[in-house]
């Protein structure tokens, strides 16, 4: 079968704002990240004629959808623009969609940008005592009267069930939190760069939704991330070394139907990985580093098993020896990830993958990194709570 993606398109510009921006609108953050990405590529705004608005939050929410958009603010001469929303998989889906527009010649350069104000929103919400998913999915999310109020309210089911079936321990999950924090110490943009963590402190952190402790949970951030994408031919002439899209794939928990029991100890990796890896012509051992979606520690454990670095149920012992940390042999979530760096959905990991493949990651650089894997996780919040989508993206440098 002819390859649809492999090395035909490239990410050529990166704009990243991460941290706390209480005085900036989400629109302004997105616009600024897009400007930075276009500049990073060595392009002018007037050359970028396509744009994709990546929406991280599901549901109706409080985010304006149609009233104004970053391409207008930036003054882009857009020939194509659309929004795509799939929770923490919107970026990978956006890249797949943008590839088709580029192939059709609907645009020459596409900038994809996401923004979030979750940190600022969490500050104002805290004052009211009403937090998290209370504010989104105003219709259709039916677990609220039972106190299923946050992502951790139901995502903890994943960890609970894995512990029940495979004997996974809190200490093993804690090794994932510790490794992320060790990577974060090497990332100047990480929110927890100055907060070292050891396993004792992890185990002492308060249970929020048992079995999950505070330190099993990701951070919230303000910020924005943008990438410029173009064809491989156009990418060759730009300012930075191109980061090629080698393969991409998506999977759905619905493939096994969301109420089926297998869905509580695995993510929908299988189909996503098969398509992405086949397209990229790689095996798991070809991956030099990975950014695995880490809204909670359990998701990382599941994906280590689901991608095949170890067998199902073996993830706990696999991570227990520091294997995924800076001194280990399998570099995972080298930015510090959502757990310890900043939360822009899977764009956190996409930004890191571009940085690693450009060999610009400084003290956390994976030596001679050539192939990186980024995963996304998102979609419907059914109760029983499931993020049904898994997305895989394989990136490489020449």
């Amino acid at each position: 079968m002819a390859k649809a993606l492999k090395n035909k398109f490239a990410l050529v510009g990166l704009g990243l704002l991460a941290g706390r921006y209480p005085d900036r609108s989400m629109r302004a953050l997105q616009t600024e990240a897009a400007r930075l990405a276009i500049e990073d590529a060595g392009l002018s705004v007037a050359q970028v004629d396509g744009a994709v608005d990546l929406r991280l939050a599901p549901g109706s929410g409080d985010i304006p959808s149609s009233t104004d958009a970053f391409p207008r603010v930036l003054g882009m001469p857009c020939r194509m623009f659309f929004q795509i929303s799939r929770g923490g998989a919107a970026g990978i889906m956006g890249i797949v969609a943008a590839s088709k527009f580029l192939e059709m010649g609907a645009a020459n350069y596409v900038v994809l940008a996401c923004g979030t104000k979750d940190w600022s929103r969490s500050r104002s919400a805290r004052a009211s005592g009403v937090t998290s998913l209370n504010m989104i999915e105003k219709a259709g999310y039916w677990g609220k009267p039972f106190g299923d109020l946050t992502a951790v309210s139901h995502h903890s089911f994943f960890a609970g069930r894995h512990m029940y079936e495979y004997g996974t321990t809190a200490e093993q999950l804690g090794q994932i939190a510790v490794a992320s924090r060790q990577w974060a110490a090497l990332n100047p943009l990480a929110q927890f760069r100055d907060r070292p963590l050891d396993i004792e402190e992890y185990l002492d952190s308060p249970l929020v939704v048992d079995p999950y402790r505070l330190l099993d949970m990701c951070v919230v951030s303000d910020g924005a991330m943008a990438v410029v994408m173009t064809t491989a031919e156009r990418a060759a002439d730009l300012a930075k070394p191109p980061v090629y899209v080698m393969g991409a794939g998506v999977g759905e928990a619905m493939e096994r139907l969301w109420w089926e029991k297998a869905n509580y100890t695995r993510l929908a990796v299988e189909t996503a990985k098969d398509v992405a890896f086949r397209e990229a012509d790689i095996e798991i051992d070809d991956v030099d580093f990975a950014g695995l979606y880490d809204c909670f520690t359990g998701e990382v454990l599941f994906q280590i098993e689901d991608y095949g670095w170890c067998g199902k149920g073996e993830g706990g012992p696999f991570v227990a020896d520091g294997r995924i940390g800076p001194k280990g042999t399998l570099p995972i979530n080298t930015s510090g990830g959502l757990l310890s760096a900043y939360h822009l959905g899977e764009l956190t990991h996409l930004a890191e993958a571009v940085t690693q493949l450009r060999h610009e990651a400084g003290p956390r650089q994976v030596p001679d990194a050539r192939i990186g894997l980024v995963s996304g996780h998102g979609g419907e919040l059914l109760s029983p709570g499931m993020c049904s989508t898994h997305a895989s993206l394989v990136l490489g440098r020449a």
Partner: protein, 151 residues
């Protein structure tokens, strides 16, 4: 004044379920052709369906099941909730998974596999919810009242 807890999101698809709950009846959708049970509302996935949900009806269900997985909320994310409380996925006898709270025992006593039964509970004035509690010892459930205690 204690703030109200979030109300169920009631729409055209699940209204019959919530109306039955207010009358302390536990109903699920059942396929009239093959007898399979569904929650939430769904088309039967085993054969062709009549328009909309025409092959299915809301029918009384046992209100019994087993805890498939559970957690203990130790922090409140909304001022109407008192912690700790257990949120669980219950595998109903009829097959579907149902998310609800387990009441009527210490939170630490809730275990995967534990048999539970419906405990309709008026959580606030006029708001009845389908909560669950540990099943009474008699496995037939014959002497078990479905009248829940007020939480």
């Amino acid at each position: 004044m204690t703030p109200s807890r979030p109300r169920p999101n009631i729409d055209e698809d699940n209204r019959p379920f919530w109306e039955a709950v207010q009358e302390r009846r536990f109903v699920l959708m059942r396929c009239q052709e093959c007898g399979r049970w569904y929650w939430p509302a769904a088309y039967c996935r085993h054969h062709r369906n009549a328009p909309f949900f025409g092959s299915l009806r809301w029918e009384p269900a046992s209100g019994r099941g087993r805890v498939f997985v559970c957690n203990i909320h130790r922090r409140a994310f909304h001022p109407a909730f008192e912690v700790p409380y257990v949120f669980a996925l219950i595998e109903l006898e009829e097959g579907p998974m149902f998310g609800s709270n387990i009441i009527g025992c210490p939170v630490e006593d809730v275990r995967v596999g534990m048999p539970v039964e419906i405990a309709f509970t008026e959580v606030e004035d006029g708001v009845v919810l389908p909560l669950f509690r540990p099943s009474a010892p008699d496995p037939s459930g014959a002497n078990v009242s479905t009248e829940g205690a007020r939480a």
